[in-house]
Amino acid sequence: MEEMLKVTDLVRVYGRGSASTRALDGVSLSLEAGEFVGVMGPSGSGKTTLLNCVSTIDRPTSGSIVIDGRELTALRGKELSRFRRERLGFIFQDCNLLDTLTAFENIALALAIVKAPAGEIPGRVEEMARLLGIEDCLNKYPYQMSGGQQQRCAAARAMVTHPALVLADEPTGALDSKSARLLLERLEVLNRERGATILMVTHDAFTASCCGRVVFLRDGKLFLELRREGRDRKAFFQQIIRVVSQLGGEMDDVL
């Protein structure tokens, strides 16, 4: 399979001297095209730092990140924002829809930013909205939609540009379990039918159980990897829970 994301020996140090913190301490990770990977770990284990580095919001201290054949750490300024808008898609915990725009316009804006032909935009927006089950609320403003609808709208915005890699940071963090399930189900559909490559950071074992693979971070290092390998979701969920409880007190705060 084609390699979509390759992270090698990533180090990120905050601060200097004795006050420094190694948020990432030599993480290596590889994602194949069409994979759906979850990243778990206790607070402060470096999950978000990893995601920020991959999403070009933060710069690693050392190591390399290659997405779709491009070395990210070599990109600067304009090239970087161009790469970000054309190759990456983002879904955040607080969905960050623009509140002055309707759902339709929020999704269309992502296409306008990548300079998609104006004639294609409405069709592509509607298609993506259908896939995520939000076609009824396209004309609503974010504050008129439920949290789940907003998050699915954010997912549609992230996916509509057909990015090489979708990065999700605790997408279900602010959702009730029903909305969370609906969102995950849709992400799985997109992953399966569209072959979207997704890297998702989460605290929640249930959310992680819909991934094809889950990696665990601790103290800035990767220490365990679980693969679903055809098992049903319930069995995978049990396995994740077992890991989490084996880690005992250390990961108390994740459940």
């Binding site: 924002s81 002055t100 269309a108 804006l109 306008a112 930013i113 104006a118 935009i121």
Partner: protein, 617 residues
């Protein structure tokens, strides 16, 4: 503890408070500068010479100061409300942390007090400088050199008035913010930023209809103004009220319809709509539409007042300058109206007797007799007075003008009311006849005119008491170039001061309201800009979108106000032209420049600040 928090709050929200502080400072400065007129060189000069206009200026400035204070109070209360709304979350957090509403109110009182003190001090300092500048401007408008009267001056009375006035305004602001906090619900405070105005989508035809009605209203108002002219349209209430109502309604409807209109229009052009960040910029503008159509209308009217008043006052000035020259052909003219009953006066003998040497102090003097008209002798009944040809030609020669010749028995009727025959004018219609004819008529009036040789003010000071003494025996009318000039300068300064005072107040109000709105929105927008950047929008495009939003807000009301002003100035010029000729091109240009400087300054400052904020996010 509280004062520490209050001080830190003031310091921290300096970005928001910056424009607020600036506006307050300008307000104080404006108020002080015009209230300290009394001590300024030009006014001192006019008061010394007992020009009636000096007192009128004082009284009118006092009256208008009340009005200006009300406008500034509204502006400050509005600005403060704006800041409070922006800080809803912060105030909510204080309440959530367990501060009582009384304590939060006290915090706000302390903050307002601090801001008030800073702006009062800065405004007064700036006001002293502005007062000096205004003084230099007005002194330079006099024909004679009065630069000696220019001095840095601090008026305790004006300062006291300013402090009392603004103290009251700040007190009002404190009470209002306290009220607002004590009435607010915690939930609303915490969700303060989240609530957008709900935009109801109306059909396009609704917007078009609104726009059409708006345009019709404006056309009707313009028609009223231009048909009846400025004087009647303003003075007669049954015309004035519908005109103003139609104008305001028209402006309001146009601004209101514009949002729905423009959205539909641009949405119909997918290439424009989906280009760069246009979609975002447009939505940003429209999301504020429910507050902006009202404030746009108010700002448009304020701008109209600012431009109209400043242009008219400057235009009137130039008219008056021309008038002085026309009205004063001689340095002094004394009219002996009792010449028919009491006989003529020998001015030369009188002056010499009193120790005034006419040879040395006067460069020329002319005594002219005017006679009652008798149609039987003069052959004309169109005039009320007659003068001799030799007298007339002597006067013409003194003014460097061509003499006239008459056919035998001819009576030449002069077209003027004697404005060019004596300073201050005769108020008589005059015919010139041959000397023999004129001398047979009955004496009506004697007019003695003279030009000064040395320093005009010294000469006049020596001359006036001697001539005033004649009042005991004769009926005397005395006019001098200096008196007329001071009188005209008085009216000129009155028009200029009031015009500038009001014009600047309105301009300040309009620009400050806009700047505050935009800055506060830009602060709301930082999160949105950060989001755009995360989506990969180029830095340049984000900054451009920020600038476009500010430009839309500033230019839209200005555009409509300019149209209003052009129509208004046309009507006003007709009015000013009654008093004399008007050079409106010059005054309009001058107005445009001043306006551009202040409004453009606010626009630039706001646009730059908004761009900076879009980057910082």
């Amino acid at each position: 503890m509280f004062s520490k928090l209050a001080l830190r709050n003031v310091g921290r929200s300096f970005r928001d408070y910056g424009v607020y502080l600036l506006t307050l400072t300008f307000g104080v400065c404006l108020f002080y500068a015009f209230n300290s007129l009394e001590g300024q060189g030009a006014m001192v000069y006019l008061a010394q010479n007992q020009t009636p206009a000096a007192e009128a200026i004082q009284v009118l400035i006092d009256v208008f100061s009340v009005f200006v204070a009300v406008v500034l109070a509204c502006l400050i209360v509005y600005a403060n409300g704006f800041l409070l709304r922006r800080r809803k979350r912060e105030l909510g957090t204080y309440l959530l942390l367990g501060l009582s509403q009384g304590q939060v109110s006290r915090l706000l009182v302390l903050e307002t007090g601090t801001i008030g003190l800073i702006s009062l001090a800065a405004g007064l300092a700036l006001g002293v400088a502005a007062s000096w500048g205004l003084s230099a401007l007005t002194l330079s408008m006099f024909q004679m050199d009065l630069s000696g009267m220019l001095a840095l001056h601090f008026s305790l009375k004006a300062a006291g008035k300013t402090v009392v006035c603004f103290g009251l305004i700040f007190l009002l602001v404190m009470v209002l913010s306290g009220l607002q906090v004590s009435r607010a619900r915690l939930l609303d405070l915490m969700q303060g930023n989240r609530k957008n105005e709900v935009l109801r989508q109306r059909p396009l035809s609704w917007s078009v209809a609104q726009f059409a009605v708006g345009v019709l209203c404006l056309l009707a108002a313009y028609a009223l103004l231009l048909t009846f002219g400025m004087a009647m349209a303003v003075a007669i209430l049954p015309i004035c009220i519908p005109m103003l109502a139609l104008g305001t309604l028209g402006t309001l409807l146009i601004f209101r319809s514009l949002s729905g209109f423009v959205l539909r229009l641009v949405q119909g052009q997918p290439r424009l709509y989906y280009r760069n960040l246009n979609l975002f910029t447009l939505r940003q503008w429209i999301s504020k539409v429910h507050t902006t159509y009202l404030s746009n209308t108010i700002i448009c009217i304020l701008l109209l007042l600012a431009m109209g008043i400043t242009a008219s006052s400057l235009g009137l000035n130039q008219t008056m300058e021309a008038a002085t020259r026309q009205q004063a052909p001689y340095d002094i003219s004394v009219q002996n109206q009792s010449a028919d009953s009491k006989g003529e006066i020998d001015f030369m003998a009188l002056l010499e007797e009193a120790g005034f040497d006419p040879e040395e102090k006067l460069s020329g003097q002319w005594s002219v007799t005017y006679y009652y008209n008798d149609p039987a002798l003069s052959g004309t009944n169109e005039v009320s007075a007659v003068m001799a040809l030799s007298d007339y030609n002597a006067l013409m020669a003194s003014q460097g003008r061509e003499p006239i010749t008459l056919e035998p028995g001819e009576a030449r009727v002069l077209e003027t009311w004697g404005e060019d025959l004596a300073t201050g004018g005769l108020g008589l219609t005059v015919a010139v006849t041959e000397d023999e004819t004129a001398r047979q008529l009955e004496v009506r009036r004697q007019v003695w005119s003279a030009n000064y040789a040395g320093d005009p003010e010294e000469t006049e000071e020596a001359l006036l008491p001697l001539l005033r003494a004649l009042d005991l025996d004769y009926t005397i009318i005395m006019n001098s170039k200096l008196l007329i000039y001071q009188d005209l300068m008085g009216s000129k300064l009155l028009a200029l001061f009031l015009g500038l005072y009001l014009g600047f107040t309105f301009l300040l109000a309009a620009a400050a309201v806009l700047a505050l709105q935009q800055l506060s929105q830009a602060a709301d927008n930082t999160g949105r800009y950060a989001m755009l950047r995360r989506l990969g929008a180029e830095e340049k495009l984000v900054a451009r979108s920020a600038t476009q939003q500010v430009a839309l807000a500033f230019l839209l009301p200005l555009a409509l106000a300019l149209i209003h002003t052009v129509v208004g100035m046309k009507a006003a010029n007709d009015l000013i032209a009654v008093a004399g000729r008007v050079d409106s091109v010059g005054s309009s240009l001058m107005t445009a420049l001043v306006l551009l400087a202040v409004y453009g300054g606010y626009f630039l400052a706001t646009a730059l600040a908004c761009r900076r904020m879009s980057r910082n996010g």
